[in-house]
């Protein structure tokens, strides 16, 4: 039997015949209902476009003020970076590193790696680091927690609204856009297709 024609469910190890779904179709594992594959139209082009858009939003989202508060004529605003730095200065380096990784470094890496991988696939350029990049991307994906951070911003604002005047900055707009781009990117990213393309590209290069 040719193992290329089979696949195994990652969560229950059921051996299945490989089928190629068309766009809009979803394949679930018949035994445990795990979502095995959901192809997206123009996955590579869309991933490339979205990651370029995300690229432009990275700096504004990370460095521009997200919210500012005004208490008794004192104005102070906060960015993603200033939260990390303040925590570090207060000696909470553990929390500060966790926040830095999950709200800044991993989201940035996520976009950069998606851009590198889809760019190489889009222009059909083989690269021996492609599979390393995609593996890294798959591992850091779940540690980028922008959507949780947005909820944190909302809760913090509700708490502060009672005691101070709030002012929303341009950074918040950039942050929400970055979040939307990242989520759309994740839903259009077809891992099965990407792995197949990487294999093809790299095997052509070997010949």
């Amino acid at each position: 039997m040719n193992i290329k024609n089979y696949l195994a469910c990652p969560e229950c190890d059921l051996l299945l015949q490989r089928v190629l779904p068309v766009v809009g179709e979803k394949i679930h594992c018949p035994r445990c209902n795990y979502l095995l594959h959901r192809p997206s139209a123009e996955s590579i082009t869309r991933t490339f476009a979205l990651s370029l858009a995300g690229f432009c939003l990275l700096l504004p989202a990370n460095l521009l003020p997200i919210v500012g508060i005004k208490v008794l004529e004192n104005y102070h605003d906060g960015t993603l970076l200033s939260g990390v730095l303040t925590l570090f200065k207060e000696g909470m380096w553990g929390v500060s590193i966790v926040v830095f990784l999950s709200s800044m470094l991993f989201p940035i890496l996520n976009i950069v790696l998606a851009c590198l991988i889809s760019g190489h696939l889009y222009f059909n350029r083989p690269n021996r680091y492609l599979s390393l990049w995609l593996r890294t991307l798959q591992h850091i994906e779940e540690w980028a927690m922008l959507e949780v951070y947005l909820l944190g911003i909302i809760v913090a604002c509700v708490k502060l609204a009672a005691m101070a005047e709030l002012k929303f900055g341009l950074g918040l707009t950039a942050f929400v856009l970055l979040l939307l781009v990242t989520l759309t990117l994740a839903s259009h990213f077809d891992h099965v297709l990407f792995w197949r393309h990487i294999e093809q590209l790299n095997s052509h290069e070997k010949k």
Binding site: I3, K4, Y6, L7, A8, P10, E11, C12, D13, L14, L15, R31, C32, N33, Y34, I66, V67, G68, I69, V71, N74, H76, G78, T79, S82, G83, L85, T86, L87, E90, M92, G94, V95, V98, V99, S103, S131, L132, L134, R135, Q138, E142, M145, V148, Y149, L151, G152, I153, V155, A156, V158, K159, L160, A162, M163, A164, H191, V192, W195, I198
Partner: protein
């Protein structure tokens, strides 16, 4: 349940990273180069160790103040539960519920659920494996939302830094709580749901 329909029973291993199949004798995946394992290595022991550490840190995370709010020179330390009670007192019930779910119920249910999964695998309980896999998926999915409190603190400390007028300082429970969240996410990641299916006869 038939046992010979799994990849492992047919002598095949699925690569964790790229998902392609390989014979059991192969060490590294031919497509992506990562190491092949039939199941996540030492899944039970790793999950158990991470779970115990998470459980131990859950106590200081709830006992110590997570932040201190100073207004016009008067400091007031808050624990996680105290913060929720303060929110209820200021008539913000929906937000209070949200924080209650994210920072108390989710970590607690996660610790409980992972313990059940480990017990199931260890004592080879005959269960509805589909349902238990679903429980595992929920545990793996909700873990990240507990970071809510940590992110909120990060925003608050950088915003409310107005010297004598008002200041918010993070407390020692923040480190413990962040550690609980991270450890339980790692615990969920290191648990292999295929073990549930393996122990079913």
């Amino acid at each position: 349940m038939k046992k010979n329909n799994t990849a492992l029973a047919q002598g095949l291993i699925r690569c964790h990273d790229c998902g392609c199949l390989a014979q059991r004798s192969v060490v590294n995946c031919s497509r992506c180069g990562s190491q092949l394992h039939a199941r996540l290595p030492n899944s039970f022991q790793r999950t158990f160790a991470l779970l115990l550490s998470g459980l131990a840190l859950y106590i200081p995370a709830n006992l110590f103040p997570i932040m201190t709010v100073t207004q016009l020179g008067v400091g007031e330390p808050h624990t996680i539960l105290g913060g929720i009670i303060a929110l209820i007192h200021s008539d913000m019930l929906p937000i209070a519920m949200l924080v209650l779910v994210a920072s108390i119920l989710v970590p607690l249910l996660k610790l409980l659920g992972l313990s059940l999964l480990l017990l199931c695998v260890h004592y080879r309980w005959q269960v509805n494996a589909k349902r238990w896999t679903q429980m595992y998926r929920i545990i793996a999915f909700v873990g990240r939302w507990s970071m809510l409190d940590i992110f909120m603190i990060s925003i608050l400390v950088s915003l409310v830094d107005l010297g004598g007028v008002a200041q918010i300082i993070a407390g020692s429970a923040a480190t413990a709580f962040a550690a609980v969240v991270i450890l339980t996410i790692f615990a969920a990641k290191s648990f292999d749901p295929r073990l549930i299916w393996d122990v079913q006869i």
